[in-house]
Symmetry: C2
Subunit: 326 residues, 2 copies
């Protein structure tokens, strides 16, 4: 089992690598080779297993938006591709061409690269996003709600989804598209995602640092913990393609929580002194993007496909606090 | 008012040219220049107006899928672009690369060409299609139903729609996307559209010729007459962009009719001898494509935007018979 991961140096990529190496197998086949691709050289976690069983790991620092950059890697015929590399929402909004070339262009190249090499059974799992939705949405969405994204990031992801669906329908690739809810609580530092605040307003105060909340507290978000997202990516590689039926895209089963509810959890777990570290500084640009995303979703289809989510926002906070303590 | 039409040699292009020249104006501005683009040199209908008022007409035989082929034409800065050129559904299904390069690639080039020339107020009207819908659809669709096309043609159109929406949202272009129902009754000969039969089973018998019906007679279609489609294209150029709100795509208000209902109209207007000219030869490939399209649509949004449709299938047949008689 040879697995290729794009965006391997990113937060999700690193967690996925750890999860895969802890499992040793995927879809019942032993993990023999991991190919890690990112703009920078991806870190490789220490293998905890015996040396003989450890997969061979190849890392490539590559700009996947450069035509042909993935050729040699695809020539090695991976069995599973986790396509996580992306220019995030705020960055794609600020630079249309950058977002287009990475989010859309590189995905096209990856899909066409699989097609031209007849990698029709290679399972291609693309991380899509709640940002494919937007505009005048119903109170509760489902997988038959139209994609009317109100950001270039969401648009580029939605276009990739259509292409992956069509190529899968034609049997040219075996694609799977997982629409990720807003991921909270991310470790590390704020990034250029419009949703970055959703982790910051918890993570920073728990670390004794100030955080800025740029949105109204009555804003609802559709969220999922990093642990459940990694579970979903792995399940996305294991579920038979035929189970997806006429659409390879599925919204993962996040949970709905208001910013006020998140802050109440901050107070419950971190006390009033943690809550006091959150400064409210409305940012119309971020509010416009984030409030265009759906807040409630009937994820029956995802559950029918075997995907599962978090049980409560309190559990998400508990998981974060458990992971950060040694 | 300088109008550019791609696909100008096609059936819709030719009718649109005639309709525009009969009006002399668009959006209250006198028609001064018509630029006609197609693979072949488009016919130019005789101008019925006085010579001094007739618009200047330029025709270009161009393969718009060739990079740069539209550069000189866009340099002339059209005020309105009707983008009708397309590889139709069966042809795009048979040749993925051809459909991709014309339906998607050329549209991308057109949109990027407008953007790079700062043609942000040029109204770009793209003909999309009922084929953007497909799969497990609700009995009655509306503009918030997800696009899950089951053909490469529908996929390519849906991808263009997303791009046009995003570029319009960013103010880079002023795009409008009209999703055309199945157009009946087309004049001329059968073409490579999967829906070609829908015209053939009426047109050929009215001309005393045999026609093949490749689908079950209980199949419902969502249809619009050529006259109402041309009206809609013109209205699509005249309606203010802001009226579209958060989505530049709209399904035109077709009517629902079964193949049996169409054949009943054939008998009513042409008698038993006309009906007897229809041979039933099921074609699973065509049936698969056409039955994946929606048959009923709540087109309230289109009507709110001022688009109107046919009143009955009998009227569609009457219009066809009136037009073909001298």
């Amino acid at each position: 089992m040879h697995i290729l991961i794009t965006g391997a140096a990113g937060f999700l990529g690193q967690r996925l690598i750890q999860a895969l190496m802890a499992r040793d197998e995927l879809a019942g086949k032993a993990l023999t080779r991991l190919t890690l691709v990112d703009q920078v050289t991806a870190s490789v976690p220490d293998s905890s297993g015996p040396e003989s069983n450890a997969p061979k790991i190849h890392t490539h620092a590559v700009d996947i938006s450069v035509p042909g950059s993935l050729d040699a890697i695809l020539d090695s015929r991976p069995d599973v591709i986790f396509h996580l590399a992306a220019v995030v929402s705020s960055a794609a909004e600020a630079d249309l061409d950058l977002g287009w070339s990475v989010n859309f262009g590189a995905t096209c190249a990856l899909v066409e690269g699989c097609r031209s090499r007849k990698l029709s059974t290679t399972r291609l799992i693309m991380a899509s996003s709640v940002a494919v939705y937007g505009g005048a949405l119903p109170p509760v969405l489902d997988d038959m709600t139209a994609l009317t994204p109100q950001s270039s990031y969401g648009t580029q992801k939605a276009m990739c989804e259509l292409m992956i669906n069509d190529y899968s329908r034609r049997g040219l690739i075996d694609g799977r598209v997982l629409r990720l809810p807003t991921i909270v609580i991310r470790p590390g530092r704020p990034n250029a995602a419009a949703s970055s605040f959703a982790s910051s307003i918890l993570r920073e105060p728990f670390n004794g640092e100030e955080a800025i909340c740029p949105v109204p507290t009555d804003l609802n978000l559709f969220v999922m913990s990093p642990g459940r997202v990694i579970d979903a990516l792995i399940h996305g590689a294991e579920v038979p393609g035929a189970d997806f039926g006429l659409s390879r895209s599925v919204m993962l089963p996040g949970i709905t929580v208001s910013v006020a509810g998140m802050l109440e959890n901050l107070r419950e777990h971190g006390g009033d002194q943690a809550l006091a570290l959150v400064r409210h500084e409305p940012d119309p640009r971020i509010t416009a993007i984030v409030s265009s995303w759906p807040a409630a979703f009937d994820a029956r289809r995802a559950r029918d496909l075997g995907f599962s989510g978090d049980t409560s926002f309190s559990d998400i906070v508990d998981a974060f606090l458990n992971e950060r303590s040694p």
